[in-house]
């Protein structure tokens, strides 16, 4: 039994190595440029998201919610989202409502609690899937252009582009710092239970300590970044209307975009129709 557990935990630890995480995140960001969703105009997709991210909160009609849920499920499949993201989504939905259900039972609630919680789950699932479709389906540059078109602060679209470009480097650097700490350190023996606790504390401590060099390095890097930006007049360009116009001139709305909107509208209308018939 203990051997099995050990094997299992080793297996899981293998899966969750730093490289795996990095690959999944990168795949999510850049790996699906050729999907139907990625080809759509970001402005249309954001408007679509505004509907499916907001309206389900306010509606308690089960056929309507189911219709929306099915639609966003299809779009998520079309966007070919990375497996890890979907796993996190499932975990998140359960953590939000399944846990609440268990505690409700514990406090003397009965099966009558299922219906409202089912509605809540449907709402949460629909909204998260809609956001997964839009934010993982689009590539970062398109996304930040779309947000900029809607008048989001320049800081936000800058942050998105910067984050996607810098993240792999930051992760690698963090890993290097962590590994060098491990090399120099002497981890406590972890055969017994107290030893395991000590080992865990040791690991957490190393992670905390490795933020010290990381902070210094990142401070240097962010100074370089900002100075490079300043050299090109970033702060003036960010508020200049002409520059914004040039940046956004690449956005085009095609027939595919309208088709996408129309099909979504059709699904919603059919689900409303069903709910009026029932």
């Amino acid at each position: 039994m203990s051997k099995l557990m050990q094997k299992l935990s080793e297996n899981i630890l293998d899966k969750f190595s730093m490289d795996f995480l990095r690959n999944q995140v990168l795949k999510n960001a850049y790996g699906n440029d050729d999907t139907v969703i990625a080809g759509l105009d970001p402005r249309i997709l954001l408007a679509w998201y505004l509907f499916f991210g907001l309206i389900p909160w306010f509606v308690n009609d089960i056929p309507f919610l189911l219709g929306c849920f099915l639609l966003v499920m299809v779009t998520t499949i079309l966007a070919r989202v990375a497996g890890l993201v979907l796993f996190l989504f499932a975990l998140g939905v359960f953590a939000q409502t399944g846990y609440l259900f268990l505690v409700t039972l514990f406090f003397g609630g009965d099966a009558s609690a299922i219906a409202p919680l089912l509605i809540l789950t449907l709402k949460v699932a629909t909204i998260s899937l809609a956001s997964i479709t839009v934010f993982s389906g689009l590539d970062p540059d398109k996304l930040s252009n779309g947000l900029m078109w809607y008048g989001c602060p320049e800081r936000l679209s800058f942050s998105i582009s910067y984050a996607y470009r810098m993240l792999p480097m930051l992760m690698e650097e963090f890993q290097n710092v962590l590994l060098s700490y491990r090399l120099r350190g002497n981890p406590p023996a972890h055969d017994t239970f107290p030893g395991k606790v000590r080992y865990l504390i040791y690991q957490v401590k190393i992670i905390m300590q490795s933020f010290y060099p990381l902070m210094l390095n990142t401070a240097k890097r962010s100074r370089t970044t900002v100075e490079a930006l300043e050299l090109r007049g970033y702060r003036y360009a960010a508020v200049n209307k002409a520059v914004k116009k040039i940046r956004l001139s690449a956005l085009r709305v095609s027939y595919n975009d309208w088709l996408f909107l129309a099909i979504s509208g059709l699904v919603v209308a059919v689900s409303v129709l069903l709910s009026t018939l029932i």
Partner: protein, 281 residues
């Protein structure tokens, strides 16, 4: 800010602080998002709470830039990049993180005073967690119809949220926010500032201290977070409207369905025509 005259950061230094805080806290929250937490009984052990990073930075530098950077970093790295963006809920998280970190940064007058740093870190964390708890309770109350009618649900929500608050504050708050901040602030003080090109913060530099204006800004921010919730209350009126409309609207719904089908057909024809044109050209 009223006291911007001396030793406060220039615009580009503020941008540096913003970028620094954003990338570090973003990276950390990305890890917490990816590493699932595990529960022993009802006590949740998670590697959550890397809040010590923005706390440290806000005590050493301009608090507002560090706070905004941290909140943006969390939004961009762990929500948008992983497709976990939750709409209205993110606004609330954004504001609470900003306010919590900002309060902590303003509280510290002298980064070399350890007691002050500890108190500030704890107060900032507690403020952030408390606001999050209040908003969470409101959210469940508004989302579930007939909240009071479901047996056992109100108590369970208060119990889980209250317990999560205490658990987070005592466990994650002390272990992952207080201790690392106490370790990092004195160690980084005087070393990290030259890298950004500014003088270390001292007792009489401009950004320290809680002023009435700062408190006012925080209160306004929290009110904004509540307003996001009030918007959800307005949604209850929308539900009634929807139901009323649904009763008499079968014909209307059929009309919309037909219209959508016609639109799709027209678009398909137009697209084909457009493709032909492109092929000819």
């Amino acid at each position: 800010m009223s006291s911007m005259q001396k030793q406060s950061a220039t615009q580009s230094q503020k941008l540096m602080i913003f970028v620094l805080s954003m990338s570090l806290y973003g990276l950390a929250t990305l890890f917490t998002e990816l590493i699932p937490s595990f529960q022993v009984g009802i006590v949740e052990f998670s590697v959550e709470y890397f809040l010590f990073i923005p706390l440290t930075l806000s005590m050493l530098f301009d608090p507002l830039s560090a706070a905004l950077g941290a909140a943006t970093g969390e939004l961009v790295f762990s929500e948008i990049m992983l497709g976990q963006f939750g709409g209205l809920g993110e606004l609330e998280k954004f504001l609470t993180v900003t306010i919590g970190v900002y309060i902590a940064g303003r509280l510290v007058r002298d980064p070399k005073n350890r007691a002050m740093v500890g108190v500030a870190a704890f107060v900032g964390t507690a403020a952030q967690l408390l606001m999050g708890t209040v908003v969470d309770i409101l959210k469940v109350q508004l989302a579930v119809e007939d909240f009071e009618a479901v047996a056992g649900l109100p108590e369970s929500v208060f119990a889980t949220e209250g317990f999560a608050f205490l658990n987070d504050l005592l466990f994650s708050g002390i272990l992952f926010a207080l201790l690392p901040t106490l370790y990092l602030v004195p160690k980084l003080y005087g070393k990290i500032e030259p890298l950004i090109g500014m003088a270390p913060r001292t007792r009489d530099s401009a950004v320290s201290g809680i002023s009435p204006k700062a408190i006012l800004v925080c209160v306004i921010g929290f009110v904004c977070a509540i307003v996001a919730e009030l918007l959800a209350t307005a949604g209850t009126a929308l539900i009634d409207w929807e139901a009323e409309w649904a009763e008499s609207g079968t014909a209307m719904a059929i009309g919309i369905v037909v219209a959508a089908i016609v639109v799709i057909a027209v678009l398909l024809v137009m697209r084909r025509a457009g493709e032909k044109k492109a092929a000819v050209n």
